[in-house]
Amino acid sequence: MAEIRVDNLRKAFGEFVAVQDSSFTVADGEFLALLGPSGCGKTTTLRMIAGLELPTSGQIFLDGEDVSFNRASARDIAFVFQLFALYPHMNVRKNIGFPLLSQGVSKAEIRTRVEETAKLLQIGHILDKSVSGLAGGDRQRVALGRAIVRRPKCFLMDEPLGTLDAEFREVMVHELRELHNRIHATTVYVTHDQHEAMAMADKIAVMNHGIIEQFGTPQEIYNRPASMYVADFIGSPPMNFLKFTAGVQKGDRSISLEGVDVALPEVHQDLAPGELALGVRPEHIRFSDSAALRGSVYGAEYLGTNQIVAVETGKGLLKARVPADRTFRIGETVGLELNSEKLSLFDCASGRAVLSSLHTEARHG
């Protein structure tokens, strides 16, 4: 197993820049999710680590060794493709054993190692079947088997659950994390699904337009989004933004919103007057009749354990996640209380979070 270090990695296809000066480190045994919408450069980054694309500039280190321009076959990494890429003319056993064959491993050892792997993934019973007849989940397991059988330095996975149906995806998310806990392989996992990233990853890199917007643990990403983009991309429903025009000063502990004072974590930065956005997660809003900030109920979405209530305020629509025990009438006036310790402030011009006691440091690529 190994540490992956990516240093100022950049990839341009002609005029189009797919990845812009990305830098991050995946520690030995860590699970990193590259998260972002399609076309954000996450797959290109992964393919460069794999050696399927060569970087325009920058470097990639595997265990301290510069492999930026090495052949894919010389990097000792495993790659799980979105469509699995199981060789259709070979059965399951041959598919899993194929990487070992290239290393000149003896037939007897290939046999034992393939069987060990199959046992780990609980696919022993399908070893002699043709891959074309397999169900989605089994294909997925065979693809994983082919990756882990040779004990590579790291695993790279390109949306491996993308083609599975929603129900089964949950099962595989669980299985993948379980597998990771057992073999502790350094893993880079590309996905556009925030739930997958949150559920599996130790670290998440949120990408947009070839730039890593934020790199951190799922908790950091969720609680302290470094930019409005991240705040909006993560969480469902996403973070609410209340836009207003004001300036802030170091040491400020509140801002004025529509004449109402809203307390927030201590600001650590001076900012000239301009458009700002107060970011608040739906679960950090509580309905309270005594609250000064008021709005009228626009609609409610019942989710069983809780409900999402949309409230029309003077600053736009706000979605709150509240207990499901109360029923709201449309048009009803409610008071909104914001959890002052969890509020984020963003500078609309740059889109970045304003430094505060919550946002102590804005870590980003």
């Binding site: 794999a50 050696g51 399927l52 052949r71 894919a72 076959s73 990097r75 990494i77 495993a78 790659f79 493709f81 979105q82 469509l83 890429a85 060789y87 259709p88 003319h89 194929f98 990487p99 290239s102 290393q103 082919r146 040779r150």
Partner: protein
Amino acid sequence: MSTANTAHSVVEPSQTSKRIAGAIIILYAIITMVPLAWIFLTSFKSPPDSISYPPKVVFQPTLEGYCNLFTTRTRQTPEYIQSLGAPVSTCDEITRNRNMVIAGPSNYWPRFQNSLIIAFGSTFLAVFLGTLSAYGFSRFKVPLADDILFFILSTRMMPPIAVAIPIYLMYRELGLSDTALGMILLYTAVNVSLAVWLLKGFIDEIPREYEEAAMIDGYTRLQAFRKVVLPQATTGIAATAIFCLIFAWNEYAFAVLLTSGSAQTAPPFIPTIIGEGGQDWPAVAAGTTIFLVPILVFTILLRKQLLRGITFGAVRK
């Protein structure tokens, strides 16, 4: 009971339309099979039967046509034939009944061998070169790829015979006239454009992920090509091979022009049989029948691939 009220499926053809379709197919098969059946029957007729009118459908089969095809004969007096010992073979006997004796083997078999060597040789070369270049065009950024592919295709836009004279002169200068190598090169050149285009379509359909997976699994690109791409391209390769083989096997014009002796193929040779001792239609028919055999066997063996090759691209994702 009224059948009009029975529910019918939208996708399943009705009995009537199935019957009509079947009838059309059978009729078409009969129309295309008649000349072949005619040739096959004629090859077993005696020369008088072969030219009788109305044509004889029921006749006494004889191997005379096949004997005449494979031998050269000389006319002799009955006295001389009487003086010979007992006939050594059926052909010997048939020939003597016509007041002739076998002088030696004909050129049919060597010509047939030439056809085999030239057709299979050029097919192999065209498919080999075609597969490699199709893979290259399919997978790599080739500068001016579209223009080059168009150029390759354009070599088929003009009937090859239009350049017959320049090729004839070139071949004479280069010493390629009437050589198997010359014919193999010529047929390869004609077929390779078809091979590149057909195979590019097939290889485009094979996802790149397979090779990428193989390369990550520790193989070089060439190994990945051999172990992963080729096995999946067999259908396309087989279909392409049949098309190339049919062309090379049937080609007549260049064969007449460029071969006359040692490298002559069967197509220009077969018509020359007519001239040897009257209009020997059974021998011509026998030559044609045998000539059909290799292509028939090859096509039957690979018929599934051929069908896929023809319908290929009809349904695009």
